[in-house]
Symmetry: C2
Subunit: 557 residues, 2 copies
Amino acid sequence: MFPKPTLILFATLLTVCSPADALWPQPRNLQTGSTALRLSGGFDITISGSVHNAPSDLHAAVLSTQNFVKTDKLGRLVVGRGSVDAQAVSKAKSLSKLTLSLSQGATAHSITSEAQKAIEDRDEAYTLTVPSDGSGATLTASSTLGLYRGLTTFSQLVYYNDGTTYILNAPIHIQDSPAYPYRGFMLDTSRNFFPVSDIKRTLDAMSWVKINQFHWHVVDSQSFPLQVPGFTDLASKAAYDSSSVYSPSDVADIVSYAGARGIDVMVEIDTPGHTSAISKAHPEHIACAEATPWATFANEPPAGQLRLASSETTKYTAGLLAAVAKMFPSTLFSTGGDELNTNCYAADANTQEDLVSTGQTLEQALNVFTQTTHKAIIAEGKTPVVWEEMVLVHNVTLESDTLVLVWISSDDVKAVAEKGFKLIHAASDYFYLDCGGGGWVGANPDGNSWCDPFKTWQKSYSFDPTANLTAAEAKLVMGGQHLLWTEQSGPQNLDPIVWPRAASSAELFWSGPGGNVSEALPRLHDVAYRMRQRGVQAISLQPEWCALRPGVCDLTA
Amino acid sequence: MFPKPTLILFATLLTVCSPADALWPQPRNLQTGSTALRLSGGFDITISGSVHNAPSDLHAAVLSTQNFVKTDKLGRLVVGRGSVDAQAVSKAKSLSKLTLSLSQGATAHSITSEAQKAIEDRDEAYTLTVPSDGSGATLTASSTLGLYRGLTTFSQLVYYNDGTTYILNAPIHIQDSPAYPYRGFMLDTSRNFFPVSDIKRTLDAMSWVKINQFHWHVVDSQSFPLQVPGFTDLASKAAYDSSSVYSPSDVADIVSYAGARGIDVMVEIDTPGHTSAISKAHPEHIACAEATPWATFANEPPAGQLRLASSETTKYTAGLLAAVAKMFPSTLFSTGGDELNTNCYAADANTQEDLVSTGQTLEQALNVFTQTTHKAIIAEGKTPVVWEEMVLVHNVTLESDTLVLVWISSDDVKAVAEKGFKLIHAASDYFYLDCGGGGWVGANPDGNSWCDPFKTWQKSYSFDPTANLTAAEAKLVMGGQHLLWTEQSGPQNLDPIVWPRAASSAELFWSGPGGNVSEALPRLHDVAYRMRQRGVQAISLQPEWCALRPGVCDLTA
């Protein structure tokens, strides 16, 4: 009745999924052929002599790419794995080198410094060519950051079988640059703490899919793990314990590790809400600290917000933000501004006294607080970044170049754009990695979460960044990011809850919208399997039977 | 405005969460005092001389418990961790030993043999006493299996601070035995493969919460990783690869590792559906193998079911099941029987010919197939276990002692009980660990799953095992289990997707229903934190801030 359906299906899949199509994010411009090339035993990646004073992080990136080429040992995701390529590869010419050069006139700055530029000044474009005749592959760019992106692409071209490392589909010509300048990932290290090693492993994985922004939500009401020079009492009194602290040298280590991987680190000190932890060291600055019932005074326990109407508190906060700003070379600094609770201030005698004595409303006081604190970070060379409430709920005067993170709902994007602010997509209905995993507040018998259901990779992948926007408004979209709030996460589930899901926004904002989930799935399997080869515990998206048979497990197959 | 709410809250929590209350599952009978005891440096667990010929697995369990007592080093989950106990502990008497004995007249069989008995013959009761005067603690039971359960409990009493291991709340008197004889966990090793080490680590974690049954869904349509003597072509042709195979010695290793931890291993060879993989070695036995569109012929790709109307296929299956039965000492054997697809047989010429030639309907042929295959395992001393469709959808004659797994919905429990079958709770609406994590078939733009939302620990914990049952029907409930289907799971997320969630059914079926999620949460944190100390990556259920402050993050707090 069903004569050899298997063979028919395999014939199909070989045409729909060629290896160079396993790149992620998909290059904007990709031409491939059908010739296999073996990488020679002495395969070498070299920086052209025309690149003067190549920076050390570029040398490190070259070494690391050479290492991936050798150690990934990824068998291609087809039935039989790499063995199906054995015949073609045995007859293939050998590729002995990849040479990196900068475009004429370009200067070799460090990858780090290129990555830490203002987002619109980052140059990530590159051109990668792998000829089919075995003559050297070439990678050119007008910045070391572009070269870094090209190296990442090159490492994804390589498969392994039975002692041989090879590339299929030469000649390959790729001309690539991102659709959006901001492609981020946010991690909350306050609800639960993550050791530096977990953050570094996450930065590695981010770099493999060309994410260029780490949004570090480092502190919150639950704990204050950041050791800030001049403000060390915060970490010593409000970190979970003395080992759950990021010292200035840890921060420098993370920033430099990120930079060398083409990633900028934007720190967030969320203010004036989400600051209960500060009360452990400075109760004088916090209204309604740990007040009960917490749900009256905050969206999450414990309650506690900066006394924004107090000039002393405003000064203290401005000083804190300036000190934190000095720790991070990024041009971006998030001051938060979400979920401000008015009951907290209404019930706080100090705040009420301050409002009366200055004759201000709470909103007017918030405006002063925001302007003062923003001024402090602007003085440190930062561009402020805020959560959407600061422009949609509060009537605060902000610098016109302030970046706005849209989180409550993607429905709010239009309103932010209409106000003329540049924005970053971070909406809970598409990009919250923690949604659907169960609610975490106690005494909740069913225990489901406010942002059910689970946000699948397909959901975020299908997001339209410019839906309902005019052409002018669309220009305000800087990009987007996945986010991990960690009420129910820690080092135990970091990799599996993030990867490969967060790769879906990485491609969306690099390659541009309109991708098809059926076409993307085989490539995303490749991302996950390669991540595992490199020590990141990315989950299975399907039974291995399906991963080896692209398209066959589609609903319609 | 909010005078020291912290202090008030702490005073409360100290009374609601004493350490001996951190046991999981909660003992059926627990009396505690308020005296601290330090474990002496030479603290020793000994088997009384009155126990003749103590088996080697009991000796091993004693050593392992001594090891946990030394290496858990779990700080108590309160603000300040173990340091809050330092004063009480510094003045405490010292406890130097725990002595195990069997009740008078009891014989010391191995834990393994006691665990592998028929479920209603397992004796897991024990009595544990820790006097407050520092005289020796005692553990008695009428079986080594009971002693094993008591050792598990003892290890949960122990906390650590600054070089000292201690117990609080002596005198402690525990008399304990399970409410239900079957407390299981099911793992699917076919959709994605799990190395033996992952299974062993899971068995460890299961034993720590007194789960006594490993339901091993070892093969399915996607892969056949079980090497069966006499049927080795199945694994060699239908395992994902040669390293993704459980050899007979792997099975013996797993069975013995489980047995020594008080866990019986019930294997499942799901028939006649879910058998596509067999077609790789024996296409003659499989109808509609990999037929397309798969959704017409199966609930999951790839399609393929045993030709149940063929006497040759029936004989082959009976032989296979008998051979598998010989590999597992358990009295239980699951033959599956779920999701039989009739389109597959309607479209299969061989099956239609067989039905015509024997003059049978498909249901009659299924009856013959089932009776023949069940007879084969009954001849090997097994009691058949089936999924619910075998009694609710099909009109199959089953032995009256057949156990039925209710999976489709907890609403089906009543109907199974009304038919007089013993049953195991395994319903997808309460106990499926994979639900809510996204759907996995391709070309599914939103990608959510059929059994959304996520099944939280609170949901399974609040399950009522005898809802709507008469007293007579309630006696048919043997227990229940969590289940992990692994379309989107693998070694990468095994620990975080299972733990501590699966501990919720472990307590439900040991301690009995009616537990309160608010009371349970602090104890479940203890489970998760202790698991981590022992190398199992159990996730955080709340921010650490909440874990250290029982009740404070409740919705109502």
